[in-house]
């Protein structure tokens, strides 16, 4: 009797498993189709431009590797690419240093008003990105609030010109606008971290720092990597901030690419310049997934 019941049970579960797989596929078809038509296809069309060239004023469709040669032989492009990667890495590091304590504090130390504080973190995202960049522009200027304070308090004699139209201005602005993207994934992961683990660690004699390094950090790695990926790729592609707040020689690859598709009228070169960026970000994604960013930790 029990045998028949289990057999029947097995039969029904395998067929419902099959149905589940089919329904999963049907459900996925929509988003996958959308991704293919509106993301993969346009991206492929874009990338294929890199093997074409411009014969004023039209695009010449005979395949050529000239653009790749141009990329490697013109010092401008590798220089700017390196500049962009460096800036992105530094901004990511800064966001980690600033964002982690804040996320930890919110997740583990705040009991009352947690939602309110969370909202305050997200609040800047409600305003337009451009508004925030312009706000920094006026804050950092020679007659801006920061310089006025520095001169008034006597910390400096003359307003600091290095604060605006410089890499510093870009760095501060990037940090500020992208920080919520680092804090939120970190917070989510840290929030799920059972407090009992930390208590157990303390009971077993681990000091605060050891608990952090051995338990908290590894378990929060998915969130940290997710946040870092966001901040890194956002900075890699940005061109508004360097244009508005950067000085001569501070431009990042995003503007060069945008120029190729706009004023310079050289789509093939623009497409070629995108490829290194895509490769770098794919590498970052790959490394992150190896380190476990894509896994769901209990």
């Amino acid at each position: 009797m029990a045998n028949i019941a289990t057999e029947a049970g097995d039969a029904s579960s395998s067929s419902s498993g099959g149905r589940r797989d089919r329904s999963a596929l049907i459900l996925l078809a929509g988003p996958l189709g959308w991704m293919t038509v509106f993301y993969l296809v346009p991206l492929s069309i874009l990338l294929v431009h890199s093997i074409w060239s411009v014969e004023y004023p039209e695009i010449d469709h005979t395949p050529t590797l000239a653009n790749f040669r141009t990329f490697f032989t013109t010092s401008l492009y590798p220089t700017i690419l390196l500049r962009t990667v460096t800036m992105a890495a530094l901004v990511t590091a800064g966001a980690m240093v600033l964002g982690y304590p804040l996320a930890y504090f919110l997740a583990k130390r705040v009991r009352r008003h947690r939602e309110l504080l969370l909202m305050l973190v997200v609040f800047p995202l409600w305003s337009s990105y451009l508004v925030r960049v312009f706000a920094w522009k006026s804050l950092l200027g020679t007659s801006g609030i920061l310089n006025t304070f520095l001169v008034w308090s006597g910390i400096v004699q003359e307003p600091l010109t290095v604060l605006l139209y410089s890499k510093w201005a870009m760095y501060i602005t990037f940090l500020h606008v992208w920080l919520p993207f680092m804090i939120l994934p970190l917070y989510t992961v840290l929030d799920r971290l059972p407090g009992t683990l930390l208590e157990a660690s303390a009971d077993l004699g681990a000091q605060g720092w050891r608990t952090f390094v051995r338990i908290v950090l590894p378990l929060s790695l998915p969130g940290l990597l997710a946040g870092s990926l966001s901040v890194f790729s956002l900075t890699m592609g940005d061109y508004i901030t360097p244009t508005l707040l950067g000085g001569p020689g501070d431009q990042l690859i995003g503007k060069i690419v945008a120029d190729q598709f706009g004023v310079a009228n050289n789509w093939p070169l623009g497409a070629t310049l995108i490829i290194p960026v895509l490769i770098i970000i794919s590498l970052a994604l790959f490394v992150s997934s190896l380190a476990g960013a894509m896994e769901r930790r209990a």
């Binding site: 411009v54 004023p57 010092s75 010109t161 139209y165 004023v263």
Partner: protein
């Protein structure tokens, strides 16, 4: 149901017959001449400001000229638009003010292709250097002033590859035509903006930025054109402008009509208006540009004519190396400029 949807789609995408869409240099849609035109013709004029001729070209190309009716193209641009098949021929019989233009502006070579006219020339002027008289007491007289180390960190210069021609006028020996430069000359010119880069505080994109930079005391000297001087003065700053003594580049603006313009006739009316007396005098007042209408120029006082280079138009015009179409622009000038200013 389908019919309703079609109607809604049609209504949202179709542009009204009473709207004129322009791509302009800042100042060309000032209320002074825009409002009277709008009222007289019961239309709306919607301007889009562009910072460089390259931007204007890009805007026209993107939409195949369908999104805009007209563009205020400087002398380097119309040929590129024509080659890309984006310009409509001008029907001069519909322009009531056409015969009032000085002869040299009727069919100049930068808007005449295959013996047909493709633009309506309305204003011209030189590139100038402007400086804050409170900060700089000895008057700069040359383009060299923008390369002067005593102004380190307080210089702003235009981010536009055609400026290479202005820099080329500093070469020794000076090229006869700063727009026809050999590869060797180009390599020599490149050194100048490279030398200048550590001194520059900001490369500006839109003219309005320059006034802001002066106002916030970020810079004391910059390059630009007369509209910028007036804007900066409007921001209560005492600036003076100076034509570079080494030789000067400049621009001559024409209203070109898009081949796929929605409102060809309305566009012609705007062109006619801008070369008419009111439009031309408006231009002199709002932008301090030299104008192209003989009769309108005659109504100005002799001092004003002198200021605006209208006492002897032919001679004054000939002093300026007007921007012109450069076949190797995209291939050589743009990358060179980017390398010099960004690399």
């Amino acid at each position: 149901m389908v019919k309703r949807f079609e109607y809604v789609l049609h209504a949202t995408t179709e542009r009204h017959a009473d709207e004129l869409k322009l791509i302009i240099w800042e100042g060309y849609a000032d209320d002074t001449y825009r409002k009277p035109f709008e009222e007289a013709n019961q239309v709306t004029v919607s301007p889009t400001e562009a910072g460089t001729g390259d931007e204007m070209f890009a805007l026209m190309r993107e939409s195949d000229g369908k999104n805009y009716d007209m563009v205020s193209a400087s002398s380097d641009l119309p040929r590129r638009l024509y080659d890309a098949g984006l310009l409509a021929e001008i029907d001069t019989t519909k322009l009531s003010n056409y015969n009032k233009l000085y002869d040299q502006f009727k069919t100049p070579d930068y808007i005449t292709f295959d013996d047909k006219l493709y633009g309506v020339n309305c204003a011209w002027g030189p590139t100038i250097v402007l400086y804050n008289t409170e900060e700089i007491t000895t008057e700069p007289t040359a383009w060299n002033a923008l390369l002067d180390e005593q102004y380190t960190g307080k210089i702003a210069t235009w981010n536009y590859p055609i400026q290479i021609a202005q820099y080329a006028l500093l070469l020794d020996p000076k090229p006869a035509n700063p727009y026809e430069l050999t590869d060797e000359q180009l390599a020599q010119v490149k050194d100048i903006p490279v030398r200048q880069r550590p001194l520059v505080r900001k490369y500006w994109d839109l003219g309005g930025e320059v006034a802001e930079l002066f106002k916030n005391k970020v810079i004391v000297i910059a390059d630009g054109w007369s509209w910028i001087t007036l804007q900066t003065r409007a921001a209560k700053l005492d600036v003076q402008e100076v034509v570079p003594s080494e030789g000067v580049t400049g621009w001559s603006d024409s209203w070109c009509i898009s081949k796929n313009a929605q409102n060809y006739d309305l566009a012609l009316k705007w062109a006619d208006w801008m070369i008419g007396d009111e439009g031309q005098i408006g231009i002199t007042e709002v932008m301090n540009y030299s104008i192209t209408n003989k009769d309108a120029a005659a109504t100005l006082t002799p001092e004003r004519q002198q200021e605006l280079r209208l006492t002897d138009v032919e001679a004054e015009y000939a002093k300026i190396h007007m921007w012109r179409f450069i076949p190797a622009y995209d291939e050589k000038w743009v990358p060179l400029w980017n390398e010099a200013t960004q690399g």
